[in-house]
């Protein structure tokens, strides 16, 4: 029994370490996106080949998917609950922003909806809900 518990502990990374890694990755990703928004360029070499761009996309997807899997493996039900609600509210925020912005655009009151801003808005909603449920 004790050996089984020790084996479990050996394979489990401390949750705080997993969470801090996620927060650092999310912050770096957000800063890159905000920089891209305001600088008008993506934070990567501008003369990349098509293969390079595809490799970058595949790498980014692998890193994010790998991290999410690692995170879900190490998290607990309280955190998972916060994550599920944050994702639900992120989708609601995304839908509300998109619909309202589109209507305003059709009515001539706003420019064409910007996918990056909508994504950032939903990410902020997700982060706010997650932090509220996790730490209040």
């Amino acid at each position: 029994m004790m050996e089984h518990k020790m084996a479990e502990q050996e394979k489990t990374v401390p949750r705080n370490k997993v969470m801090k890694t996620g927060i650092i990755l999310a912050t770096l990703f957000s800063v890159a996106l905000i920089a891209a928004r305001f600088a008008g360029v993506l934070p990567m070499p501008q003369n990349m080949s098509a293969g390079g761009v595809i490799a970058l996309c595949v790498s980014l997807t692998a890193i994010v998917a790998g991290y999410v899997g690692w995170y879900l493996y190490n998290t607990d039900e309280h955190d998972l609950h916060a994550n599920l609600w944050s994702m639900a509210w992120a989708w609601i925020a995304s839908a509300l922003i998109t619909v309202n912005w589109s209507i305003l655009h059709v009515g001539g009151l706003a420019p064409v909806p910007n996918a990056l801003i909508i994504f950032l808005g939903s990410a902020v909603a997700a982060a706010s809900v997650w932090a509220w449920l996790r730490f209040r």
Binding site: E8, E77, H78, R134
Partner: protein
């Protein structure tokens, strides 16, 4: 949902972090359960009952009247 988790933990002089380690959940999860902000899953409730050598009903009270 009301519960006696804080009392049971205090009787054993365990910190929230220590109880979290024993139940394999975070300290924040224990705090959220103790303050009634989060209701644990059935598997976690059973785990708590086994750890404190009691029943789930002795730890949690949903406020409903029996009978």
């Amino acid at each position: 949902m009301k519960n006696r988790l804080r009392v049971l933990r205090a009787e054993r002089s365990w910190s929230q972090a220590e109880l979290g380690d024993r139940l394999d959940v975070s300290r924040q999860a224990i705090n959220a359960i103790e303050t009634g902000k989060y209701d644990p899953s059935l598997p976690l409730a059973f785990k708590m009952a086994r750890l404190f050598e009691t029943t789930i009903e002795a730890i949690f009270d949903d406020g409903a009247q029996n009978g």
